[in-house]
Symmetry: C2
Subunit: 396 residues, 2 copies
């Protein structure tokens, strides 16, 4: 395992700028790489289920290809998709969202990269509320921006954000605060009054607030989570990022979107032009189908993840060595520690070898989470139960 | 027209980092925006023809979707496509290229963005040989990197690069030199001995050389252009960027690739992860089909563009007011000046209104080219002849 780490380090090349060489090459993909697609492995590594997008989404894309939607396109997204997404937000939230606030992106990930490139320069920093999906920190480092941490605390009531930690991490070079609610890996929802207070803090300092609401529809027992969009003005320095990956099981399709101040549209078009010049039109047509005809599937995915959380937590809660907050009420993960396994990274490599179950170590999700494990529960009951059975043998 | 420029400026928002606000929002897309898809317009604006990718490429993608290739994928590209591209280069060039030197990207554009982010930081600069496609300069500015110019000269023999200009533009903060051969908009090929000398200059200074070889297959009268890959060591600081957009008419599919030192693979995987996490797998399967079964189509596209250059140049050379170098022997453009029309930008707006032909003004391609016009000739003989007929009325 330390060998694996050293191998990656040995590959570091000369000629890259200094900051790039400092970014760890290791991530969930490198961990999984050797076993990607290996049928003997039950992959609970990624934020990805075992369900493909429903056929009607693929068929919409196929129609678009056959209809010749295969040329250069609008930088902010095709008008049909921007309008469909504006309607979608307006329907789900309490505030009308206009289509000039929507920019379609090559994944939720790319929305974050564009946001960092747009708002932060060298010498600037961003504050990340974690434990969280590592990619916002990664893209900031790639852009040469310092990353600071405000770690949520695991309390009796679950993962809790202390805004004092955010304030303490900020200085006059802070350009952006990032959080995800519902959270990945925690499944935690930051109470809306806390989010509103955070927005007020950012407003007072002229700092951008970036809310990752990718799991907005994965809130158990309700149609959608609360959204900060309902508590902000259109021209607030607020960007809400979304993805088609989770709600419509479109991980491999690489399409997401962002909700932004209307005035940012032309700037985001420009950055899109100089990033990848936009999302393939036929994939955008798949997105239109997903948003306008896919509500039944979103409900199905939500139920699927709720069942998965139940199966995983039933198993984990029966183990005296496992420590975990209250059951998540959102998302697609369980995030927990195991007594006697302080180095989850080493344990994950061993667990993969012993049980052929792929799970993710906590250190990917921020400093302080080294002893945690994340498992993705978006899997059939049979496969997930089988995986939990195998994990019991090592966590008992 | 000045109104259009002012409107865009008025939209500049607060909160973006200072360098971003300085990047012009205007590009060919903004110029075309109001008339995109308007059937009355003959669009010679973009580097895009009127031919869609051949059906077998779309069918390969459709098979991949139906076969379930819709999940997260390999960061550097699927092994099949990396191997197919390595074979492709090995077949066309004089030097074997291994698949660990191939990274598949979300467009040739994104290969450039990743290259800049990987090699350049704040305070660094890059030198761009122009007139050239504006997007390398754009992505550098988005990344906060200074852009310097080494302009080719239009001589009796055509567009010529004076390496002294490159040397003069470089200083100890220069991290990268960029050129395109065959060129866009010029169609010019930089002689291989000049390219080799440029590589030696870069080697001596530890500077990266980025060769855009997107038009490598669009060289008239031969199967492929010469490539600098045949004159470099694998670990030279050389990156060659490619796209499926031109040779296989896949502009709207957003897929390209780069050939890089093998040691860069893990770093590029990491930057891909934090950019957009990779290219949709099913599009990569379309790429495999294009590379392995598409030679007949590449030949067709080359002939189509050669015919187009003939039609456009026959028309333009008959006009006494038009000044242009020798006929391009590569690419898909004609690039020329017209006496009495020093402000090509103003003229393009007027020409669009008067003739419903969309053409691109030279200032997009670098300082000093303000009086030039670029037209894309990758169009059916009928449509291109019709467009040239309309243009004769304003250029006569």
């Amino acid at each position: 395992m330390d060998t694996a780490r050293l191998d990656l380090a040995a590959l570091a090349v000369s000629g890259v700028r200094p900051g790039i060489a400092d970014i760890p090459l290791e991530n969930i993909s490198t961990l999984a790489k050797g076993r990607l697609g290996d049928p003997s492995v039950i992959p609970l590594w990624f934020g990805e289920g075992d369900v493909p997008a429903p056929a009607f989404i693929g068929e919409a894309m196929i129609r678009a290809v056959r209809d010749g939607h295969v040329f250069y396109t609008h930088q902010n997204g095709i008008p049909e998709l921007r309008a469909a997404l504006a309607d979608y937000h307006t329907r789900l939230g309490a505030t009308p969202i206009t289509s000039d606030r929507i920019t379609v992106t090559t994944s939720g990930m790319h929305a974050l990269m564009m946001t960092v490139l747009m708002t932060c320069g060298a010498g600037d920093n961003i504050v990340i509320v974690d434990p969280v999906w590592p990619n916002m920190g990664g893209t900031a480092r790639v852009a040469g921006v310092e990353v600071r941490q405000a770690r949520m605390d695991l309390t009796q009531g679950g993962w809790t954000l202390d805004l004092g930690k955010v304030a303490a991490a900020m200085d006059d070079k802070t350009r952006l605060v990032f959080f995800a609610s519902p959270g990945n890996p925690t499944g935690a929802m930051i109470p809306m009054e806390t989010q509103v207070e955070l927005l007020a803090m950012c407003r007072a300092r002229g700092v951008w607030l970036v809310a990752d609401e990718v799991y907005h529809r994965m809130v158990f027992g309700r149609d959608a989570g609360p959204t900060l969009l309902d508590h902000a003005d259109p021209e607030d320095r607020l960007i809400v990022t979304h993805s088609f990956s989770k709600s419509w099981a479109m991980t491999g399709w690489r399409i997401g979107w962002m909700v932004h101040p209307p005035s940012l549209g032309p700037t985001l078009a420009m950055i899109t032009q100089y990033s990848n010049s936009g999302v393939a039109t036929f994939i955008q047509h798949a997105g239109v189908a997903a948003v306008t005809e896919g509500e039944w599937f979103v409900e199905k995915m939500r139920a699927y993840c709720e069942t998965g959380v139940g199966i995983a937590c039933d198993a984990l809660e029966a183990l005296p060595r496992v420590r975990m907050g209250p059951r998540p009420r959102a998302g697609m993960y369980a995030f927990f520690e195991v007594d006697g396994m302080p180095d989850a990274r080493a344990a994950c490599v061993e667990i993969l070898q012993k049980t052929n179950v792929g799970i993710a170590p906590g250190f990917f999700f921020g400093p302080g989470s080294e002893s945690f494990f994340r498992i993705c529960v978006c899997r059939s009951a049979d496969s997930l139960s089988e995986a939990m059975g195998r994990l019991m043998t090592v966590f008992s």
